[in-house]
């Protein structure tokens, strides 16, 4: 089990500190969990690339001492797919927001999952658009408020785990910023997994989501995360009543299926080409 609290500075790009994230934002906790996972991974940082989209989560690549791309809104997985195919030995990690992955980038998200290409998605879900000032996301819960649903949201939400599972992702997990031990563990599991891996992390946005919905201070929001999630992964047995109103967390799928760069390498080999995954 990865430990926290060790010296993680070597993984961070010091000249980019401090981050743009608001005081009390959960994204810093996620970044720390990524650093912890990298420490346990032990791979030379020259062999790692971190890519992000647009939004609060999209700033993640700036803060790590790796090659990095801060790409366009929703489309980081397209860039990541090209980079991974060009250099299959590279460990490619992407940071996506909930609007990034499930609204503007939903098409890219499901197709990258379908290909089962060896990429890691860390999906920072704060239930709202933070960077632009608190607008409704496809993850904003029913009846919750945002600046573009001032009278309460009337739309159903996307469930990242259901979507990732249905689209063909081969490692699918969800946790929260409250679960400080599980975060790095799941991220490490996702990076080590040889296929398309998604870790959704519910993260608190005290500045917009918390304030607009009167959820209190950041510690109250962490408490809220704990009280509205339930461990319900592939090994747990829980009742329908227990699940009601709660979001299941845990590792929901971890299986080996043919991976895209390896499939492509096989195709090249059959044609006499020298591509190696």
């Amino acid at each position: 089990m990865p430990k926290m609290g060790e010296d993680l500075h070597q993984y961070l790009r010091q000249q980019m500190m401090p981050t743009v994230w608001c005081p009390g934002c959960g994204h810093g906790n996620i970044a720390r969990a990524i650093a912890t996972a990298l420490e346990h991974l032990g791979t030379d940082l020259g062999q790692v690339a971190i890519l992000g989209g647009i939004g609060c989560s999209g700033r993640t690549p700036f803060y790590f001492n790796t090659n990095a791309m801060h790409t366009t809104h929703g489309r980081v997985l397209a860039f990541a797919t090209g980079l991974k195919l060009a250099n299959p030995r590279l460990t490619v990690i992407t940071a996506m927001g909930d609007g990034d992955a499930l609204a503007i980038g939903a098409g890219h998200f499901i197709h990258a999952a379908r290909r089962n290409i060896d990429l890691t998605v860390i999906l920072y879900n704060n239930s709202i658009y933070g960077m632009t000032g608190g607008q409704q996301a496809p993850t904003t819960p029913f009846n919750f408020r945002s600046t573009t649903s001032p009278f309460g949201n009337i739309e159903p939400t996307f469930d990242t785990v259901d979507l990732a599972l249905a689209a063909g992702a081969t490692y699918v997990a969800r946790t929260t910023t409250f679960d400080f031990a599980e975060m790095p563990e799941y991220i490490l599991g996702a990076i080590r997994h040889p296929g398309f891996a998604v870790v959704e992390i519910l993260s608190q946005c005290p500045t917009y989501f918390g304030r607009l919905n009167k959820l209190g201070d950041p510690p109250d929001m962490l408490e809220y995360e704990r009280n509205h999630t339930i461990v319900a992964d592939e090994e747990s047995v829980i009742s329908r009543d227990e699940l009601l109103g709660n979001l299941p967390v845990g590792v929901f799928r971890q299986e080996i299926r043919p991976e895209y760069t390896h499939q492509y390498a096989d195709l090249c080999q059959a044609r006499g080409g020298a591509y190696r995954a």
């Binding site: 020259g46 001492n65 797919t81």
Partner: protein
Amino acid sequence: MRLVQGNEAVVLGALAGGCNFYAGYPITPATEIMEQMARVLPARGGVFIQMEDELAALGAVIGAAWGGMRAMTATSGPGFSLMQEHIGYAAMTQTPCVIVDSQRVGPSTGQPTMPAQGDVMQARWGSHGDRPAIVVTASSVKDAYQMTQLSFEWADTYRLPVIVLLDAVLSHMRENVELPPAPPPFSRTLSPDVDVEKPFGNHPFVPFAETTRTIVTGLAHDETGATRGTVGHASEKIIRDAFNRLNHDYAAITQYREYRLEDAAWAVVSYGITARAARAAVDILRGEGMRVGLLELISLWPFPEPTVQSLARQVQGILMPELNLGQLILPLRAAVEGICPVAGLGRADGELFTPEEIANAMTSHSTHAERRVSHHA
């Protein structure tokens, strides 16, 4: 000697230019480029992938470029419109890549199988903000090969997306051409003396490597990639420098072809597939005794101002036929204003101009221009 289709020539030219990565999305009339890439790249150890849309295709191309590959995509109008976002990203991040756009009639779905030249402005000005651009076109299968090959070189040298404009006729047209065999697969060798601390600005393109810690971002940044501090000024300087490099190398980038211009008193300035009808029109008019010639533009952007200005000083009038309702005539008029009159001939109905139509327009332009001159006298 082989009978080669325009789209096939793009593939062969790309391989000659070192292309080893293709990402695309099917669209008429560019699809054959993608189909043939799917056949040839695996055997060469290159990468082919069909993406979920054109935005993803160009995104993958940019990612692959940073992964060290020579990458391209091809599309047509609707897909080219979608790609504008990532053309801007490639420009902002100084990422070498090649985009082929086989033009069809627009706007929107338009006439998918019919030729047009309505993307010449979008190729230059598409995507928000200011960006330097190299845009080339072709009027023959051989040109399609050569300009695609050259585009990869320029993309690397000038670190920008180079756009190759074809049209629905040229894409599907076959001609007998003699082409050299494809060279061995490309592999990028990194110069050991590159400054990995300065991956942007007036420095060579260095893809991700063990020793680099590059941050590629579409945010305004300085030559180190940093986005903080007085970055607006630094970012503007990077873009200005890129414009200046194109200006400095204007003569090397500018490609054109002259036909019967030596003693011409009148000129047709044309480009792409339309230039072929214009060449035939010049022959018709010469047969009728008119001293007329053709300037065929092959590189469209940077717009060859000095070239058209010196032509304008030689002739009494210029006609520009193009398969749109008046696009490239705008920079032409701006360049030769006050030197000689320019008339346009445009259509966007999916048909080519015939040589006779261009000849008639040239005759009519010369008559009117002469009348204008005598009025002034």
